[in-house]
């Protein structure tokens, strides 16, 4: 006997081959719907595989065929509301193609990102989708050498390794700043989460301050927090800013969740929104639809970013390209005018 008396061993093609009296090769063909197999043998093989409960070994298959139907997706966080929607966009495109997304989470830590990318590349995926343009040198080098399509998503303010799909956060910040100034607000504060490695939030703020500067203005206050419930933090930060700088007439938040918290706070304080004070967030999260008043925001095009990135990976090979999407400013009910 080739295999003595193991009570429980994982099934191989060979087992199916023996059970069906057909060569391993033919079994392999049937199981992959490749090449011509007579309906009769086909049925016999399928039957044998089914009754045995055979599950193919993709490791061996991948090694032999040099093909892996996996797409690595590297994102900073799952609890951000933003990334699940990107994933939805990715899945919706990949679903038809036989490619499978595999998610890795970095918690906004560059070193962690580097190791997640390394781990993923070591499985030789068909492509990689990575959030952001800022990576360690080693990570950039690995991605550049991988010989597969790489798509950096969310952001286009920088130099991509290969492809990029996203929006200009710098420009988004500037546009919001201009809209706020045009609406007549002058004493503007910024409230954000303390995240040195959230480059997109940083770029938005830079663009925003640039717009203020052009109008001869600068921020009257700024407040940072980290950790905890974003909604609650938004309340607390807003309370802090308004007590410290009561003259503030606009609150610009780095994301919608803390913005929503701030909005709930302002309303509960009976402040006149958007008359006495205006507010704006960023992302366009679905949650906003359920608030008593609609927070001004900018849609980050998350679904579309996911779709476009997946299309690049799933489509025919192409030169590196940058796809810029244009976020729409949604004024909601919290900017006057």
């Amino acid at each position: 006997m080739t295999r003595p008396s193991d009570v429980h061993h994982t099934l191989t093609l060979r087992d199916v081959s023996e059970a069906s009296g057909v060569s391993e090769m033919t079994v392999s063909r049937v199981l992959r719907n490749r090449g011509d197999v007579s309906p009769a043998t086909r049925e016999r093989v399928l039957e044998a595989a089914r009754t045995l409960g055979y599950v193919p070994n993709k490791i061996a298959g991948a090694l032999a065929s040099q093909r892996v139907n996996l797409v690595g997706v590297v994102i900073p966080s799952l609890s951000n509301m933003v990334f699940p929607e990107v994933m939805t966009g990715i899945s919706s495109v990949l679903d038809g193609t036989g490619l499978q997304p595999v998610v890795g989470v970095t918690n906004y830590l560059p070193d962690r990102e580097e190791s997640v990318i390394y781990e993923m590349l070591s499985w030789r995926p068909s492509g990689m989708i990575v959030a952001g343009l800022e990576h360690t040198d080693a990570a950039r080098a690995m991605l550049g050498r991988a010989g597969i399509p790489i798509v950096e998503i969310m952001d286009i303010d920088g130099v991509p390794v290969n492809h990029a799909v996203g929006i200009s956060h710098h420009r988004a910040g500037r546009q919001m700043g201009e809209a706020i100034i045009a609406a007549g607000y002058r004493r503007i504060a910024f409230l954000g989460t303390q995240m040195p490695n959230d480059h997109r939030a940083r770029k938005r703020l830079e663009g925003f301050e640039e717009a203020l500067a052009k109008a001869g203005l600068s921020l009257v206050d700024r407040e940072y927090y980290s950790g905890g419930s974003a909604l609650l933090k938004g309340r607390e930060m807003t309370a802090a800013v308004l007590s410290r700088s009561p003259e503030t007439d606009f609150l610009y938040y780095s994301n919608d969740m803390i913005g929503a918290g701030g909005l709930l706070y302002c309303l509960s304080e009976g402040l006149d929104v958007p008359g006495r004070i205006g507010l704006a967030g960023f992302n366009g999260v679905e949650l906003l639809d359920g608030l008593p008043r609609k927070l001004a925001t900018m849609d980050a095009c998350r679904l579309e970013i996911g779709r476009k990135a997946a299309e690049i990976i799933a489509g025919p090979a192409m030169e590196g390209a940058t796809v810029e999407l244009l976020p729409k400013l949604e004024r909601g009910d919290t900017i006057r005018g």
Copy 2:
């Protein structure tokens, strides 16, 4: 030459071996920190690997060693708020062990779940964590035969394939029902999302109705919705129930998000909460901390479920076991008494 003039081929151990003048075997040892290698050769190998930018091929490694450091995690949704926290629990335990979680999403579709499980098993992971106890027969069979630890999470009301870690949703529903009745509410409505395959929500409702029945009560109204912003749906459903059944004095929601929407609606309508009407949700999501009033809820122990499940996978092999966690009822400000 073994390899003529390919401009760009993926590096192999052999390349590192040639570059460092050491056998492939020794290179392999160095790269895995296995066995004794002299510091000198070690340095030479590391240097060569670094300058070449070698990334090991885990596919080949896994095939040869019959070991895969992956743990499959199969969950119904990423946008549910609940699962990211389970993932956090899983990662926090796995991080130390060299095991990596790989996430698959089923969108609450049994067939989709079956195929996700099949795909994952075909990569021969070291363990699987699957949400829920309800699966297709084929999926159960595959999991049972896989020869690896399987942990079904979130729910324990049923028969697990192998291990289970979770809470009893039936009991959770019953407890909430009892607390509401004890607080004196009598005209109780249920508001949930329309999800035939959300078995946990179903079991909670069953337990809840059981408690009502014991007190000689039954639901005065029920309302289901699907899709869209949960917060907004919560508002709309609540408005619908209160206009259709104005005598209702308690609203039991199948999750906190729609409950939060309902709470915001009641407050904006100027209803006396919890005097005139009480509310309760389920899950204990962080978001609730930021609301103007704290919604009553039950903590689903998500973090702990993730941790315990990961510990079972990462720990020494053991007999199948069920771990029941006990959710805490948090009365918040929306149940009187």
